[in-house]
Symmetry: C2
Subunit: 159 residues, 2 copies
DNA sequence: TTAGGGTTTACCATCGTGGGAAGGTCAAGC
DNA sequence: GCTTGACCTTCCCACGATGGTAAACCCTAA
């Protein structure tokens, strides 16, 4: 099977298949005499597995582990469960972060007239220094602010 | 004011200040005779504005627009509101996408014994082709699947 | 004057994906 | 056989926002 067919069958783009091979997520494909990559049904199966894990938001690094467990006949389901739980926790963290942003914005929007006048509490708030919590140095090193921001979308998944 | 001081005051790293200048988000800073960037209180004010907008998850492109409105004395608050609403919509889309992933994983996890045996419904599900919805071609071109995936974290915000 | 810290530019890495160029291969139709 | 179009190959570039590093330069206090 050519890479194009494997791509269609697995729903992983040819570009990504080559990339996954390059970074070692999948073993190098067999080659025809002319250098074309040749895939078996099993290869497609693995690619599809990867695709589905990506759809669930697993990073390539996490998928490396998942594939390892997938191939390990003597795996313990607890290991898989732990991986999945870690990923859920990460998702939940990012969700919470974004919910917080959205809530803040929604509160601001409710106060904005949204008419032809220039006065706007949204810009006003962005302009103002922190009003509620403002211990300048003490809090800067703390987790929340940066954690909120950094957790906001660590694993892009743009096609 | 040096870049270091401006950085501390605005809570934007020096690295990012230079980057924002490079991509044209902020105008080139004045320079001292020796080539050091020099910032005014107003510059810091603008940087802080940017920082706060980033914390709310606005992309640099969106902030370009926000800054334009900020500087436009004859702006209409409706324009600001519209920008904010668009961003909220985008956030909500990504949140929904991640909630869906998390829900799927949580459902899988509930079915996994999580013990020393290798049998695991999580891997099993990743392994299986789509069972519920499987109109192979008809649906592939449609939005949902890819939209779900691509919305999963388009705007990384890693420090 | 010297030491140490701040600053400058320039380049590289991240992560997963797409785009494109330049060239080789294959299969169908003439 | 030859042409054509679709496919494949590798290689490089881009994205977005950020961090890191290195080599060179500047400033200030002791």
């Amino acid at each position: 099977m050519n890479i194009g067919e494997a791509s269609k069958a697995s729903k992983v783009s040819a570009k990504m298949i080559r990339y996954y091979e390059q970074i070692g997520l999948i073993p190098p494909a067999d080659r025809t005499d002319s250098g074309y990559r040749a895939y078996t049904q099993d290869d497609v199966h693995r690619l599809h597995f990867i695709r589905r894990a990506r759809d669930l938001g697993f990073s390539v690094a996490e998928i490396t582990d998942l594939l390892g467990l997938w191939n390990d006949k003597s795996r313990q389901s607890a290991d898989v469960k732990r991986l999945a739980q870690q990923h859920i926790d990460e998702l939940d963290r990012r969700i919470a972060s974004m919910l917080e942003m959205a809530a803040t914005l929604k509160a601001l929007i409710r106060c904005c007239a949204g008419d032809e006048r220039p006065d706007c509490p949204i810009l006003h708030t962005l302009e103002q220094p922190d009003t509620s919590d403002d211990e300048p140095e003490a809090r800067t090193g703390a987790v929340p602010r940066r954690a909120r921001a950094s957790a906001a979308g660590k694993k892009p998944r743009a096609h």
